[in-house]
């Protein structure tokens, strides 16, 4: 909290100095804390912000869940076979580098305009990141754990569920955080594609209207959602996972 306050103060000071005394920037080119608050207030007042956030969250959560499932399976596939590991993994890394926006034509072609399209963009934007995270975490599981479980008669499925999964968990969590960010970014591209409600759409219309305060307001909302998700999901999970292991 204190930290956020300090940031805010610094921002106001830079704004005041930069647009006023020093004349570095035009006041309309740089967001001001007050302007952003006003813009947020307006969007909250007429309900757009709630709606946009709710829509975006639903999309990103749904998309991320699909990515988790698909990405995990793919990750397991690559880590289970040396052949796939050598051939498929670098490819995934390449595909992951593609900007989400270049999937848009394909999304429209295959899924038309609408939620399915947006979901596709999210899924394709984060799945491979999930796979890479899973694959890497699996590969760094100390072999002694796997050996131990094997000698206790663990089958392939049990090995994954009871040993590899928990052993890889800390690494997986770290990777999933990044995948979550990828999902958000893909969401933005997806929402711009077919204009409906959504934070990405609000952001882009802010840009189209040259309203830097609205852009910044939406950015803050995205950051806030990110912070909350991190605190509620990732950080708390991580803390629990690491504490148990004495890390």
């Amino acid at each position: 909290m204190l930290f956020a306050m300090l940031l805010l103060l610094a921002w106001q000071i830079i704004y005041t100095l930069g647009t006023g005394v020093l004349g570095w920037w035009k006041s309309y080119a740089m967001p001001s804390p007050l302007g952003v608050v006003e813009s947020l207030g307006k969007m909250l007042g007429n309900g757009t912000l709630w709606k946009a956030t709710a829509y975006s969250l639903r999309r990103v959560v749904l998309g991320f869940v699909i990515s988790l499932v698909v990405g995990t399976l793919l990750g397991i596939l690559i880590s289970s076979s040396d052949y796939f590991n050598r051939n498929l993994k670098p490819f995934l890394n390449g595909v992951q580098s593609l900007p989400s926006v270049c999937w848009v034509p394909f999304a429209i072609l295959w899924f038309g305009l609408g939620e399915a399209s947006i979901l596709f963009v999210i899924v394709i934007g984060s799945t491979f990141s999930v796979s890479l995270a899973i694959e890497n975490a699996i590969r760094t599981v100390p072999p002694i754990y796997i050996k131990a479980a094997q000698t206790m008669g663990a089958g392939k499925r049990q090995l994954y569920l009871s040993v590899i999964w928990p052993a890889a968990l800390p690494g997986v969590l770290a990777g999933l955080k990044q995948s979550w960010s990828f999902a958000w970014r893909a969401l933005m591209s997806g929402e711009v594609m077919s204009a409906y409600v959504g934070l990405g759409y609000t952001l882009m219309s802010g840009r189209d209207l040259a309203d830097i305060n609205q852009v910044t307001g939406v950015m803050l909302v995205i950051i806030l959602v990110g912070v909350l998700v991190d605190k509620i999901v990732f950080s708390s999970l991580e803390r629990r996972v690491l504490k148990k292991r004495g890390l």
Binding site: Y145, M152, R245, G246
Partner: protein
């Protein structure tokens, strides 16, 4: 189960020399075999190969006529380095193997309690692995492997981190369990006394390359007492055999040093 080790050799990639060379050994059903030898001679490697976790570069191993190619719950292993799962607590670690083998929940609890009490860790059952001492970890691993109740038990220096008194107790417990269940046990130790106390036969491995130097039949009646004259005599025989082995090894190193 009977175990047939046939001309097993093992050379690691990148290593200049053979770690195991031409090891052959027939172990009968219910036999208690101890393996002794200098540090680094290949005891753990041999155990790993029997467990199916490592493979021989030459030779084969048969378990009741079936060739060993993969690890399995018929050969329970207690590793030299405890190999407990850090994300489970003591009790969960002990129950892990039973879960894998589909032992019913109640039976799991019963056995876990029994063996945790035997290794004197019942009180600590809810501790995390990082919260218990080295010796306690070893005892947890022991409880875990005994719980599994497999027909073959492969143990790699299971008492190395324990004080004498605890060791004595657990050694006796192990002997009792073995007598009651008729398991086949391969037991690696660096204590000749321990070997004489427990083994039907003692395999002395030599180093460089690791091959069987001698196999001693310990004919002493059980329960054995380590202050009995016969005991001391057998111990002495084996010790001197092992000692020569170690000395040879030490001398080699020494020669190296002189040459360097």
């Amino acid at each position: 189960m009977a175990l047939e080790i046939k001309n097993v050799s093992r050379t690691f990639e990148g290593s200049m020399k053979e770690t195991l060379k031409d090891i052959s050994l027939s172990v009968e059903q219910g036999e208690f075999i101890c393996v002794v030898g200098p540090s680094g001679c290949g005891k753990s490697t041999l155990l790993n190969i029997i467990a199916g976790l490592d493979f021989p570069t030459d030779g084969e191993i048969f378990l009741d006529e079936k060739k060993i190619t993969a690890p399995g719950a018929d050969r329970v292993v207690m590793f030299q380095e405890h190999a407990l799962f850090p994300w489970l607590n003591v009790m969960e670690n002990v129950k892990f193997g039973m879960k894998m083998m589909g032992v019913p929940k109640e039976e799991q609890n019963r056995r876990a309690e029994h063996y945790l009490k035997m290794v004197q860790l019942w009180e600590f059952r809810e501790y995390s692995v990082h919260e218990i001492s080295g010796g306690m970890r070893q005892r947890t691993a022991l409880a875990r492997s005994l719980c599994l109740d497999g027909p073959v038990l492969l143990m790699d220096e299971p008492f190395s981190a324990l004080d004498k008194q605890t060791t004595n107790k657990l050694r006796a417990d192990l002997e009792r369990i073995w007598e009651e269940t008729g398991k086949t046990v391969i037991f690696v130790t660096h204590s000749v006394e321990e070997a004489v106390f427990l083994a039907d036969r003692i395999v002395v491995l030599s180093d460089n390359p690791g091959c069987i130097k001698e196999i001693f039949q310990v004919g002493l009646p059980r329960p054995r007492r380590n202050d009995a004259v016969e005991f001391l005599e057998v111990r002495h025989n084996i010790l001197s055999c092992v000692e020569r082995e170690v000395e040879k090894f030490a001398k080699e190193e020494y020669d190296h040093e002189k040459m360097a």
